[in-house]
Symmetry: C2
Subunit: 431 residues, 2 copies
């Protein structure tokens, strides 16, 4: 795409004393007696434009889309060292008065207003930054895995059964049958490993019909799924996720320095994440915080406290919790060799919020059948899954990272909806 | 992820006279009197393993997952110059007799059998190659656009209305409301342009409740969507798509040389794609092939014939068809300045199949309202869309490429289901 005419605001300092053509939105305009100052924003940044004589009187509203031609002039009044002396402004698309102020440092409106007017709220530079960073997270996730021999997969979201069986599944009529929306690509990513790809990832929406509205739950979210064949054990998966997150943090730091600065976020240098067994974590909570945990799990408060403890002790916001009890994990989870009451599974907690579940999966047909039976599940319902394990299913495992949660935690966003372009919850199906 | 023990089959030639540890599947095993030859496959390729004495008698079935340790030995009998003299084989996962032969050059089974046993059919090297190439198509699509300043977006698949209004939409109950599955991210990608990102792309599933089963339709497919703000006209979009496809072809050629060779595909050197207005295309069909086209469109036969004509005349498998009539395009399509009966829209035909629809969109509020009214659409139903155009919506447009169709056409696959890992149609919701 040639844009022989257009120069980005961030490129102006390379065009001093030249005539340029800029396009973007009016971030702010200030009329003095004989001169007006207009801040133009485009996808690359901001620039001050100086309007004199007739043009200074032009009726221009904030957030209008405009094309500006003028001369780039050096100035020491501006951070980027240049401003535009405007010859002409062409109105591309006039903006009516906007319902709330988006160009202050922070939007002073409640979350519902921000989400209802998503296009306008994203014009705020801080809000805008969130989804630039999100895009970079996904880019670096994919980049790291591709360099490690992973294949990107695309698996169906319309399925004939829920992956975990039963609850929290959206269903819909499908040509005389009943279809379900995928809660996760769990079975499909396992299938792609067994199909010979060995190492696969997927970045795609998943759907959870959970009725509770909380600041960290969505009914539709983006799952970054990873599955790896021929592993030696689940420790390998934690190591992979650790390295992957180190890569993501480094890339985001480099590529989104401006966005992070704007959001006042300093990302830490990540090293090896500490690990605690669930039992150890529960004991620490009891001893250090007099906190009792629910059977075989941590609750939200527990996740927060254990994160605080780890942050203090190891100076890192991440901690793996491992070896959840067999009765609390799905039927496909690999049992621990030393204690079959426990599983070779893990969660990853980041700043007090679980952003990953993962683990090794059962690959032995007989063991899988036994596991299904011990969970009281009907073997017939899982036949199309279990049958595959008769044809050389290698040892394997994986994990999934919730993109919106990772974004929110990284940027100290309290409600995951703010890290979602167009969030879906029990009360929200628009815009 | 360290794999200090494991060496890939493709790496063996770097380890001559060393002991290595390999993991993979038994592609084929041939027992002679005192020796057995086993072809091992992993994600990187194939290697011959020589089994002598006791190991030669081991019961090994095709498609079992195994771990093999042995010595890498030079040989001029093998294409890669090495083979493995095996010390030990560990059975990781035993394969029962498979229901059809997957290790011949072609799978001799009908499409239903191939799709019903997807994991096994993908073990066939040719079938396996299809989805490696598909992954590379997406990688290079994303790479090209990111380098051009595009942001990757993630928009909801659960919506409160169909983007085009009405037909062919799946619907489902959603917490007391009715939700629809997105037929395309059309409105959302436009919104993200207007939100300030200017240039966005999305790679995500879309859902079409179309009842007809054809060799090129799916009820769920992967749409590679692109939307660009501040364009001068729709020609810019065609140029972008042209350059994008040149990049994709070059990258696939480089990275998937083995896969293409296996599939006997030679990808052409792409240049500038020819363009025909719809009217010109229809006239050529009439004059050259005595073929009448449906009103304001090409039918399937017409797309094939025009592709043949272009291939012969310009030696390229691609052709843009432009300026579809206003009455045949969605309400958001920009009208042509010189003739408002026509639109600034295009389709891209590749080897006789449409793989893209695109065009400039209306960005002027009044013009949009007029367009809705002229289509007889109820303004109230589109208020949440049209209202956005009051707040500085810049000139913009875009296109979408169907990933499975592009893959199928590139690889001379007749039925798009074969270019889909787990296809969904009116009769198929499994595996």
């Amino acid at each position: 795409m040639d844009e022989y005419q257009r120069v980005l605001t961030s490129e102006c300092s390379n065009h001093v004393n030249e005539d340029v053509n800029l396009k973007g939105w009016v971030h702010r305009v200030r009329h003095l007696r004989k001169v007006s100052f207009l801040i133009l924003k485009d996808r690359s940044g901001f620039i001050q434009c100086v309007l004199e004589s007739k043009i200074a009187k032009m009726k221009i509203t904030n957030e209008s889309a405009v094309e500006i031609s003028g001369k780039v002039v050096s100035t020491n009044q501006q951070e980027n060292g240049v401003e535009i002396h405007v010859d002409n402004i062409k109105m591309l698309s006039y903006a009516a008065p906007i319902p709330f102020e988006v160009n202050n440092d922070e939007i002073e409106a409640n979350l519902d207003t921000i989400l209802n007017h998503r296009v306008l709220s994203m014009r705020n530079p801080k809000v805008q930054s969130i989804f630039r960073i999100q895009s970079k997270i996904v880019e670096s996730f994919q980049e790291y895995l591709r360099n490690k021999g992973f294949t990107q997969i695309f698996t169906p979201k319309l399925t004939s059964q829920g992956a975990e069986g039963g609850a929290n599944v959206f269903s819909l009529p499908y040509f005389g049958k009943e279809a379900y929306l995928a809660q996760s690509p769990q079975f499909y990513k396992q299938k792609m490993v067994a199909a010979g790809y060995e190492r696969v990832f997927e970045v795609a929406p998943v759907f959870r019909a959970e009725e509770h509205n909380s600041s960290r739950h969505l009914n539709e979210y983006t799952s970054m799924d990873v599955e790896v064949g021929f592993i030696e054990g689940y420790e390998e998966l934690m190591k992979l996720e650790n390295q992957l997150l180190i890569h993501i943090f480094e890339k985001v730091k480099l590529a989104c320095a401006n966005e992070l600065k704007l959001l006042n976020i300093e990302l830490p240098e990540l090293k090896e994440f500490p690990q605690l067994t669930l039992q150890e974590a529960q004991q620490i909570l009891k001893e250090q915080f007099e906190k009792t945990s629910p059977d075989g799990d941590l609750d939200r408060e527990g996740e927060k406290l254990i994160s605080q403890y780890i942050e203090k002790k190891y100076l890192t916001p991440f901690v793996f919790i491992t070896n959840y009890p067999t009765r609390k994990r799905p039927m496909y989870t690999m049992l621990n060799q030393n204690n079959t009451e426990l599983t070779d599974s893990f969660d990853l907690i980041y700043k007090g919020v679980e952003i990953t579940s993962g683990g090794q999966r059962i690959h032995d047909y007989q063991q899988l059948i036994k596991s299904l039976a011990s969970k009281g599940l009907d073997l017939d319902n899982f036949k199309s899954y279990t049958d595959l394990f008769r044809f050389g299913f290698p040892p394997h495992g994986g994990f999934a990272i919730g993109l919106e949660r990772l974004t929110a935690q990284m940027l100290n966003i309290n409600n995951v909806r703010e890290a979602t372009a167009f969030p879906r919850d029990c009360d929200r199906l628009t815009p």
